[in-house]
Amino acid sequence: MTLISDRFQLTDQVALVTGASRGIGAGIARLYAEAGAHVWLSSRNIADVEALAEELPNARAITLDVSDAASVKAAIMTIRKEAGRLDVLVNNAGVMRPAMLAMSSEADLDMMLDTNLKGAFLCAQLAGRLMVGKKHGVILNMASIMGRIGAPGHSAYCATKAGMIGLTHALAKELAPHNIRVNALAPGFIETDLTSDISGDAREHALAEIGLGRFGTIEDVANAALFLASPAAAYVTGQVLGIDGAMQI
């Protein structure tokens, strides 16, 4: 009989977390390591993830620019060579450049599309090939509540996150025959570097929209990411899990 705690373990699973240098990505990497996974922490600049990789058990740092197909291929080949497989991919790398529609630059639009959406696609494409070979795998895409309900001044970002939801649904259907589950997380307001500058009236206004009356924590998101990667979620695929304190129901 399986212990309840065992259902949430990732013992000896090999996981890749993109954008793991800080915030939600670092939080997920920490919890996965605690759950027994061998975690690869990636960032465009490997120096940004080396310290955390040294701190965590069974963790490795790797250079990965998700927007560059050659970089993705090199990273996935390294993981296959060193670890022999990849069980969990967390497509977390993302950038946000707020601007009203009339003031949004093409360069910022391209950057957000390339990192947030194309990057997730490329990583899923190559990581998925390793998973297909093992007939097992989990892909988690970091969407956002902004991809579900929109937000003024964030049209490009919202579009990329809505795209992540569409990507999740399509991949869940396409990869199910290979026993690969694909889900998305849609965090609301989470206490990170991105939200630390929200203060005063803006913060009060944001809090008024959240049923639970507080911003979420990185741990709140990491806990959901652990559930979706774990055996406890073995029959969960194609879903978008909101972690927003009843901001969107």
Binding site: I76, M77, R80, Q125, R129, L130, V132, G133, H178
Partner: protein, 81 residues
């Protein structure tokens, strides 16, 4: 070396497509047997990549339309037959 590679290739096709080894000839083409459909093609690609320790470019995956073509493509990755 080429004999080994041929055995590996046939083994990958047999395992991925769940077909008999005798079926794996250069003339066998994608989508001409029910076992080699688009879903199985991904399994085949994964098997070939693992057995030959390579990672194929997307254009080559699209282009891999027969066993003979697979051998030709693998040659570009220094896998010779």
């Amino acid at each position: 070396m080429s004999t080994d590679n041929n055995e590996k290739l046939v083994g990958a096709f047999v395992e991925a497509l769940q077909i008999e080894a005798i079926t794996v000839t250069d003339e066998l083409q994608y989508n001409t047997i029910k076992e080699w459909d688009s879903v199985a093609h991904m399994t085949l690609v994964a098997a070939l990549e693992e057995v030959f320790d390579i990672m194929l470019d997307t254009d080559d995956i699209i282009d891999m339309s027969s066993v003979g073509k697979a051998k030709e493509i693998l040659g570009r990755y220094d896998v010779n037959f």
